[in-house]
């Protein structure tokens, strides 16, 4: 069994990273040129890591399944990125970002990692601005900030509703610069299907060229998995269609432990499901909660239009239940509160599975301010609304357009209807402080690892973490490993481990075509998604989870005996790609339920109905569950639990309160 040591540096919390960084073994420039690093993924984590490692002199090979690294799923992030800059002079600091993140994660994250994240957060903004990323600015020419959930300061930097796009294009341009210089070799439309482990160390991957179907062997001195999150295990989520767990799961099967698989983030503000045909769900950024007020009618089964419901018959339930944070409570809290209202019969819209997100009050308020700026005195309501609309448009225009496209309704006129949807996965490959998995030489970065967000991620912190990992953490920590690898010759690709891994990948593909079943891949994916959403979603209980495990095992059997994969292996075949991903999702789904069943407490996004306070808040059990659950894969799709105890030395652990 691999050893579970988080390798947290000694010393004061605030000095751990600085000390480690300055004592880290280095690799000299001449040696770097002969060291190859494989980076799987070109999202924020992958692109920033690949570009930076190449700048430092390593030979890098980077992989993505899309046709261009610029289309990685990070492109879709909307609202913003956090950084402890304190530009607003509202009392922000590294410590406060650290504290908010630990508390937001419901005391289930590692202190040392989170503190490091807060420390490097400011550098990220500097780096991105230097690259020409056009973040939003104020009239004075300085950077603007907005608020996100779970904090009382304004530390979120943004570029309208396209922050992820702009940050990714920054990292992508840095990556393309290295590609142009021949220092990164880019493999687009390639999917990693196996990690190759030689003598206990990660030494390469097997990747399928998606256009030709050819299986390729790629060797390297280290392998970085930056392959994103696994929210699509639920079939419907806000993730891109291709987002998957395959890279992480194959690594898991080769010995990398999987950390906290059950921690899933259900985002409170998404466009509700409109029918069976739905293929994905669309997020309405958390930044909207800055200016939108969430409410439902006070009367049950109220069928009146929103505009016909007078002010005093509206229940602004978040403001009512959580006066201190109001509409800006963390996501898990806001999602559960929406579900609670809808389950109790106060939901709105056709399906009754929706609540209102209303901009009217703030539109008017902005309009009034704008009228003042424009020297219009005593403006009437109409003028205010007109001017306010312009302000709202500048802040969130693309989100409002998106909403109108999808629902056919005008959100400037009517309040948005929203409902929670699967959005992000805090769980992922277990990594130590250096971002190394339990397989030496195999690293995980970005959403693919489990590291910094505990049981609930705060908004605008994923972009921060992905770029922290890629720009500022791995370039240092990987040196510690690679400096010991200087004597390692280039890895021969005819090594038996490569032969075996390739045969394994080929075996799975052959098996798919041999089944010649009757049901499409999507059929199974939807079934899995339904089990997961119903029994391992926003609320979970022992009975449901036990049932889900049996149902998923049954589904796995059915999948492997009745799936139909059309076409051939040696051609461009997206159905084959999907089949591979769904096969891995099915196994992961089972592990998520096992993990959720094991964790007899509620924390963050993991809400076990049996463990709640009288007011319906999550009830942790710090005595028995203050640990990271790191699961080891065993032959025959079995899993063994290992525990990493979490020690809180700098923060007083308390029941989370946003009242």
């Amino acid at each position: 069994m691999a050893e579970l040591n988080a390798h947290i540096p000694e010393g004061e919390l605030t000095e751990k990273w600085t000390k480690l960084r300055s004592s880290m073994p280095l690799v000299n420039p001449a040696n770097k040129r002969s060291i190859e690093v494989i980076v799987v993924g070109s999202g924020l984590a992958g692109a920033s890591a690949a570009a930076t490692l190449a700048e430092m002199g390593y030979k890098v090979k980077c992989f993505c399944f899309q046709d261009s690294p610029r289309r990685a799923h990070s492109i879709a992030a909307q609202g913003g990125i956090n950084a402890a800059k304190n530009y607003q002079n509202d009392g922000d600091s590294t410590y406060r970002l650290f504290y908010d993140t630990i508390k937001g994660g419901d005391y289930r994250a590692r202190e040392a990692n989170v503190h490091r994240l807060a420390e490097v957060s400011a550098n990220i903004i500097d780096q991105c601005v230097a690259q020409g990323v056009p973040l939003a600015r104020e009239y004075g020419g300085l950077l603007d900030n907005r608020s996100f959930g779970g904090t009382q300061v304004q530390r979120t930097f943004y570029a309208a509703g396209q922050t992820g796009q702009q940050l990714l294009l920054g990292a992508y341009s840095a990556l393309e610069r290295q590609i142009g210089m021949g220092k990164v070799e880019m493999f687009t439309r390639h999917e990693m299907l196996e990690v190759v482990v030689v003598d206990g160390k990660a030494r390469g991957i097997i990747a399928r060229n998606l256009l030709t179907g050819e299986l390729e062997r790629h060797s390297g001195h280290a392998v970085l998995l930056c392959s994103g999150g696994y929210g699509n295990v639920f079939y419907l989520s806000t993730n891109a269609m291709g987002s998957n767990v395959t890279a992480a799961w194959k690594a898991h099967k080769k010995g990398a432990f999987f950390g906290n698989p059950c921690y899933t983030q259900i985002h409170p503000t998404c466009i509700p499901v409109s029918g069976d045909h739905q293929s994905k769900l669309t997020l309405m950024s958390e930044s909207l909660r800055n200016d939108g007020r969430i409410w439902v009618p006070k009367k049950k089964d109220d069928t009146r239009k929103a505009s016909e419901i007078p002010e005093d018959e509206r229940d602004y339930y978040l403001e009512r239940r959580y006066p201190a944070f109001g509409n800006l409570v963390p996501r898990d809290v806001a999602s559960r509160a929406a579900k609670e209202r809808c389950d109790a019969g106060y939901g709105v819209g056709k399906s009754k599975l929706a609540v209102y997100l209303d901009f009217k009050a703030n539109t008017e308020r902005y309009g009034r301010i704008e009228a003042n700026v424009q020297n219009i005195h005593n403006p009437d309501k109409e003028t205010c609304m007109r001017l306010g609309r312009e302000v709202i448009k500048e802040k969130y225009g693309n989100l409002f357009d998106m909403y109108a496209q999808i629902t056919g309704e005008d959100p400037y006129e009517l309040p948005m209807r929203i409902y929670p949807a699967v959005h992000y996965t805090m769980g992922g490959l277990w990594v130590d402080y250096n971002l190394m998995t339990t397989v030496p030489g195999l690293y995980a970065l970005g959403e693919a690892n489990f590291s910094d967000h505990g049981a609930n991620r705060l908004g605008a912190s994923a972009l921060m973490q992905g770029l922290a990992d890629g720009y500022f953490v791995i370039p240092y920590t990987i040196g510690a490993y690679l400096s010991k690898e200087l004597a390692t010759k280039p890895i021969p690709q005819d090594h038996p481990a490569f032969v075996e891994a390739e045969a394994n990948a080929k075996g799975i593909i052959d098996k798919f075509f041999a089944i010649k079943g009757t049901k499409t891949v999507d059929h199974f994916h939807k079934k899995l998604g339904k089990i997961m959403w119903d029994k391992c979603g926003m609320a979970r209980n022992a009975k449901g989870l036990t049932e889900a495990i049996a149902e998923i095992q049954e589904l796995r059997k059915e999948f492997w005996s009745d799936v139909r994969v059309p076409g051939e292996a040696n051609e461009f075949n997206p159905e084959l790609e999907k089949a591979g991903r769904v096969a891995d999702f099915i196994e992961l789904g089972e592990l998520m339920c096992i993990d959720a069943l094991n964790r007899n407490e509620s924390c963050g996004g993991h809400f076990r109905e049996e463990y709640q306070t009288e007011e319906g808040e999550a009830m942790r059990d710090d005595e028995n569950y203050a640990y990271v659950a790191a699961w080891e894969f065993k032959e025959g799709v079995k899993f063994e639990l290992h525990k990493e105890e979490l020690k809180f030395e700098n923060i007083k652990v308390a029941q989370r309160s946003y009242k």
Partner: protein, 256 residues
């Protein structure tokens, strides 16, 4: 599975691979809901094709919310279909009528060869960016972000150019298959920012050279690209790029 009541005839370009000859194939679809997105309608079609033992239609897509730029479909003679300012994945069936016939083809341009069915190879765009679409700053060399104030108007204008999603609709709609709108968007974003100044003229020269090398056509100012761009990238960017391109000729060699 479907829940609506629209009946449609689709004429879809099918092509086995880059070398094969392609052609339009007719498909009938019924019970399509107006709430479906155009790509969800394709999902329904593909599920039916697979169940019948046929090969599904291959098309690029990923985010399905108008930001990744993958979904390149030429619908009834227009990239991304009949509505302005959106991508194919944002198009909904309520924009069509019961009984419509819809023709769907891939992007057509020499620099974008068809890979299979509706999928094309747009890697030429990446190579144009690799030629100079960046600011040369290694990680770790940045000063404090607020040490460099940038007027809001300028920053906003750079952002508008940076909103390009690299979809290639501008190339697909242009009778010359010119990539000027795409290339100028990046050049113009960086040329409007102080950080972009040191490499301003070198950048425009190398990106334009790469654009030409990729086989994109010339710009004859028809403006079709701007009209079809889902992100409203403005023709002003092309003008700005041209100015920089000509200025670059007069900037001394050492400055480039």
């Amino acid at each position: 599975m479907s829940t609506g009541n629209m009946n449609l005839t689709l004429k879809i370009w099918r092509q086995k691979n880059t070398k094969a000859k392609g052609g339009l194939v007719d498909y009938k679809l019924s019970e399509i809901s107006p709430d479906m997105s155009f790509l969800e309608m394709f999902d329904v079609l593909n599920e039916q094709l697979i169940s019948k033992g046929d090969e599904p239609v291959v098309f690029d897509h990923d985010c399905r919310e108008g930001i990744c730029g993958a979904c390149s479909m030429y619908i009834d003679g227009r990239p991304h279909g009949p509505k302005d300012g959106i991508t194919t994945c944002q198009l909904h069936m309520r924009s069509f009528k019961d009984g419509d016939t819809i023709v769907v083809e891939p992007w057509r341009a020499k620099a974008f060869p068809v890979i299979k069915d509706l999928t094309v190879d747009r890697s030429a765009f990446d190579r144009v960016i690799a030629a100079g679409g960046f600011i040369s700053v290694n990680t770790g060399n940045a000063q404090d972000a607020n040490n460099l104030p940038i007027p809001k108007v300028q920053a906003d204008s750079a952002f508008e150019a940076a909103a390009c999603i690299g979809c290639g609709a501008c190339v697909a709609t242009c009778k010359n298959a010119s990539a000027m709108l795409f290339v100028s968007a990046k050049i113009s974003q960086l040329a409007q920012l102080p950080q972009g100044q040191p490499e301003r003229y070198r950048r425009v020269q190398s990106m334009v050279a790469q654009m030409d090398a990729e086989g994109f056509g010339n710009c004859t100012n028809t403006g079709a690209c701007e009209a079809e761009c889902p992100k409203g990238i403005s023709l002003e960017n092309i003008a700005r790029m041209n100015r920089d391109f000509y200025s670059a000729k007069f900037v001394s060699e050492e400055d480039i």
